[in-house]
Amino acid sequence: MDLQRIDRRVIYLLLLFVVGVPLLVKITLPISRFPDSAGIYDTIQTLPTNKPVIVLGNWGGSTMGENGPQSMAILYHLLKRGIPVMITGVDQQGPGLVEAMARELAPKLGRVYGKDFVNFGYRPLSSVTLSSLIKNIPDYMKKDAHNTPVAKIPLLRNVKTLGDCSMVIDISGLQGTTEDWVGVGQSAYHMKMASCVTAVGAPQYYPLYDSGQLVGILVGMRGAAEYEALVGRPGQATRLMPAQSGAHVLVVVLIVLCNLAYMQQRKTKGGATR
């Protein structure tokens, strides 16, 4: 068998197997703790409960596997601590999905819509429109996603500018959303910021984390699993980590096998030419 030419259908089946088995059979693996995830947890632990946190649901169905568990873990922590949550986002699907999660958690934690969390829905917040929002949030938002005027939303009673919010958490499957908030929002009001991103998009945020502009980063499902461990509520990400582990190990094994065969082939060819 030529290890350099394994049929792609065999690879697909192997992947299906290593991802599928951990979903059917309960496998428990220890969850590591990276400082980038702990940074968000530690910051939220110190936030005041009278200032809202803006949670940006900048994700949709395509990145739900990673951003979904991240959103759930972050919302659980915020709502459990009684920190008001303002939801919005530049993805048409994200804010609604995040609100649905908040509504799922709210009854268990004794929280209600309008007082403890509010959804402003999809807003096209580029760096230009963002500079309008941060100076006068009620004037810019005007109504929530359910057409309730901001004057009737108790959560916004003491909120005027971004300075009245304690933190912005960007849960994003998109590129550039965190940079917009760091550049426009944080530079003006110096509030704390965190970013929860897909594993593939994470490297570009490390310079912001390293410089202290982000208090932490949740990286993909690994970050969500770590956060679930930090808040003491193992959920979807913890259950799915063995499946992701299996996929990563499979990639490594396939690359190693292929390269061993490649080296063997080079050695043989080299010998033949000599």
Binding site: I6, R8, I11, Y12, L15, V19, L29, P30, S32, F34, P35, D36, G60, G61, S62, T63, M64, G65, Q93, G96, L97, A100, P124, V128, T129, S131, S132, L133, K135, N136, D139, Y140, A202, P203, Q204, Y206, P207, Y209, D210, V219, G220, R222, A225, M241, P242, Q244, S245, G246, A247, H248, V249, L250, V251, V252, L254, I255, C258, N259, Y262, M263
Partner: protein
């Protein structure tokens, strides 16, 4: 009559000038008036963006309409699927969200909207994206050959990051004291120090390029097929 190109160049220059002055001038110089105007000026961008979405609609409808009437069978099937889903989502969405007051808001319509949006659009997005995993694994297997030292270093770094990011990486080396932290810590170091430094360097280059690009657009110096044709 003002030529189109000059009109676009004028509006672009004025919009850019406003934001440049608003950013650079201290608020005390303008009495805060420039900053206060942002809530009036900002929504213009949304209006322009809404127009561009509208133009996209018309273009899509025109292409799929042509495919439906003149295209080969395969394109007609795609066009039928497009029109079916497009008009269903549009009609149900408009009925549920912006219906005239005399029409009742039936629970069926709301349920149908929820079904279309949450259970079809979101689910399809997840399904399509998850297929990428299969292609990525197959592509990594086929393309990743250690032909030289650089490729070898890259593969070593990739293995450390891939295994360090998942619990199995810690578990693999947990047979000796402190071993479980080696791969996660190494992965973290690679991402923060090595990848972070190179991305910061790339970021500086991109920012300088963005300034140059911004100036070209602001002053309408950018050349392209649109401007050449419209001139």
């Amino acid at each position: 009559m003002i030529p189109k190109k000059q009109l676009i160049a004028g509006i672009t220059f004025l919009a850019g000038l406003y934001y440049l002055l608003n950013w650079l001038l201290p608020a005390s110089w303008t009495g805060g008036k420039l900053g206060d105007a942002e809530n009036t000026v900002g929504p213009f961008l949304q209006v322009v963006a809404a127009f561009s979405i509208g133009l996209g609609w018309f273009q899509l409808l025109a292409i799929q309409g042509r495919n439906l009437t003149q295209g080969p069978v395969s394109q007609r099937v795609n066009a039928v699927a497009f029109h079916l889903t497009f008009w269903t989502v549009l009609v149900v969405g408009l009925y549920v969200n912006v219906r005239p007051t005399e029409l009742p808001n039936t629970a069926y319509a709301a349920k149908l909207w929820e079904l279309l949006f949450n259970d079809v659009v979101v689910a399809l997005g997840s399904a399509v994206f998850s297929l990428l995993a299969f292609f990525i694994v197959a592509a990594a297997y086929r393309a990743f050959r250690v032909r030289n030292l650089e490729a070898g270093l890259m593969m070593a770094a990739a293995f450390v990051v891939m295994l360090g990011q998942v619990p199995v990486g810690g578990w693999m080396l947990s047979w000796f004291p402190g071993g479980s932290a080696i791969l996660p810590k190494s992965a973290s170091w690679l991402m923060t120090v090595i990848a972070g430094a190179s991305l910061r360097a790339i970021g500086f280059g991109v920012a300088v390029g963005a300034i140059a690009m911004g100036l070209r657009i602001w002053l309408s110096l950018e050349r392209g097929s649109y401007f050449e044709r419209e001139a």
